[in-house]
Point group: C2
Chain length 404, copies 2
């Protein structure tokens, strides 16, 4: 039973404790007011937003030439705590971080894919999320109350626009690399297309140019579950019980789409939760049911339902071809970054053929690209799970540019 945010455990690659030479050790989230009223953040929806605080973490050291920075871009339910052990878990009331390292700890650290002996790795929580960066849970300075649904609808481009301000704040002219899986990979696409001169290379994993109709449909059902919840109160639930049932349901459904049918079959099959014979009851009969419920319940302890609405909507809106007037090749024609694209054979949320279409578009746009489809049974979650296969690819791609 694995939480996708802590998948290293299951892979038995070992959990790297704070004192381990392979761990970045204890970390502390940093919060910075990146957007003030003097210089509000323009958004795709036409509104502007200020103030905006960003929570981020850094691992490794920025070189004197400021040329070794890598931005890690997190996915839907991720946060800035990508590696190491959060020394401030109590301060910010994040008990789930007590016994587990950051969500991509397998790939970030000394000697790992993103080798903190060489690189300065930065991960920032995205706009609209609930882990320290401004979102629907934040106080609206005009009302003194949480934004709730008055928070503007944000997009992947908006997130990246804010990340650019972090890049400026950190004094980094050009990022050595950006890297992300899933929705993180789509942020990377927005980066290379919109700010070609600010990024040297991009690693895009388990992501495609856009979500298909089926993916839009799953997101719509998940959001509807939250909107239906009697505790939702039009998003103004911060002073009362949160819409836990709805968010739990949304997560259960999302989780099905992150796994492949084969991996679910292998992991659970039709096994009963208790014993070998049916109990003839309407719930909690099969192991897969209990597993999903567990996933849902633990998610509501650490995620905000409003953020779920906003982030899935941003996921819906993203369409890389829009930058090229509907033509993917045109969208990628002006990029300058070196590109590595990785997909997984059993990913049905962002299937390999969709990632391949991005690779072809980059080539059609006249740019080189490295693309690899990794055979994996893990489905979409493979970007977090296939550490052994991902690491040499990322490592050699980063080294190829003689970046070290």
């Amino acid at each position: 039973m694995t939480d996708p945010l802590n998948v290293c455990l299951e892979k038995k690659t070992g959990i790297d404790l704070p004192g381990s030479p392979y761990s970045v050790g204890w970390t502390r989230p940093q919060r910075i007011l990146l957007v003030d009223n003097e210089n509000p953040l323009p958004l795709d929806c036409g509104a502007t937003l200020a103030p905006v605080t960003v929570e981020y973490e850094t691992y490794g050291k920025l070189s004197r030439a400021r040329d070794n920075a890598i931005f890690i871009l997190h996915a839907l339910s991720g946060d800035a705590h990508a590696a190491g052990w959060d020394a401030d878990w109590e301060k910010y009331n994040r008990p789930w971080r007590k016994d587990r390292p950051g969500w991509w700890d397998c790939s970030i650290g000394p000697g790992k894919a993103f080798d903190t002996n060489h690189y300065f790795v930065v991960c920032a929580n995205i706009l609209g999320s609930c882990y320290g960066t401004t979102g629907p849970w934040s106080l609206n300075p005009h009302t003194g109350k949480p934004y709730g649904l008055s928070f503007p609808v944000v997009t992947v481009d908006d997130w990246v626009r804010l990340q650019l301000r972090l890049q400026d704040y950190l004094g980094i002219d050009k990022l050595l690399a950006i890297a992300g899986g899933s929705l993180g990979g789509q942020q990377a696409m927005s980066w290379v297309i919109n700010y070609p001169e600010r990024v040297q290379s991009a690693i895009i994993i388990a992501a495609s140019a856009r979500l298909g109709a089926q993916g839009l449909a799953f997101n719509a059902v998940g959001r509807q579950a939250i909107l239906n919840d009697p505790c939702f109160l039009d998003g103004n639930y911060y002073g009362s019980a949160p819409p836990a049932g709805g968010l739990e349901l949304a997560r259960m459904l999302g989780h099905i789409t992150y796994l492949s049918a084969d991996s679910m079959e292998g992991k659970f099959g039709r096994r009963y939760q208790n014993g070998t014979k049916p109990c003839f009851r309407l719930n909690n009969e099969f192991s897969v049911e209990s597993y999903l419920e567990h996933q849902g319940r633990s998610f509501v302890q650490r995620f905000d339902a409003n953020s779920y609405l906003y982030l899935t909507r941003a996921m819906d809106y993203f369409d890389a071809s829009a930058y090229g007037g509907g033509e993917l090749a045109a969208a990628f024609a002006s990029i300058e970054a070196e590109m590595l694209l990785i997909s997984y054979s059993s990913d049905w949320l962002y299937p390999p053929e969709a990632t391949r279409a991005v690779a072809k578009a980059i080539i059609a746009g006249g740019r080189p690209v490295s693309y690899i489809e990794i055979p994996s049974a893990y489905g979409h979650d493979a970007f977090l799970l296939e550490t052994d296969k991902n690491t040499p690819l990322i490592d050699s791609f980063l080294k190829r540019g003689n970046y070290q």
Copy 2:
């Protein structure tokens, strides 16, 4: 925008009005008390049930030799009204039947796959459903109130055990054929395995020996949506507003699994509901969202949430291999019926390889079988939609036995 129960419309095969020579014309549901207190129905869960009423319809005429009867076995959301036009739609308050024929009207009627010029076609509503056959909505004679969740958990075998009583009641020693898609196909498996001497042939469409872990998971999420609904009231909602939001959500989710990713893509893609630019809102933005909501809303007008719980659970429990101690070939070793199995290339709820496994098991059990995989983009719903492809297969299979 098509309702899966009325898919002929979309296929432009023409809607056969009551006066058409291809229609069975006006029909009337029949209700019969098949199980009384003297002779209660034993159930797999260990309980017995009485009384039990069954609603059924018949089309065509039973031959003098009583050897031309075909039982049509309906799927999850189906009913006894498989063909023709319900003359009693007002009597039983079923307004949705006013403007549409029965759910398999494309396949049942004069000159159709199940040719009512030759066959006596019978379709009965399954136990636990909400269309006239006893279910959670029925009055519990011991309390005078609807059963609600005190209704026993029923299985596919229980449904078939009740259908056998209908066969006896109709005075039919051996059915010429049984036929069903999806959950209807699984009923057919139960028939041929449990009552080999009572069935001459079986047509099993878009069905496999069991639901996989992913299918179990989707059903669990759908049920959870109903259980979460504040109107659910532990199933005792018959005197108040039904848990419409939860049932709507369950149906939206179910609907995604009935379509293929490709057919959703082709039908909706990423089209906006209104105009060509995003409106930046959290719902009702994409066409596919509005479509699913429409499907969900119309479903709650005609289906009972408790029945949804019970029927999906029966779907979960069915596993043909259980009849053979876990061995599918052993399960089918004692069947006597001629078998036709049909699957559809894009069906991911009951995928072709799973139906093929049944065909192989039948052969391994020493029995002949006809199996065909139809190339189709329609996904699981193809069993209702691919009339042009299904008809000649069913027609020739039925004729092959010189049954006419």
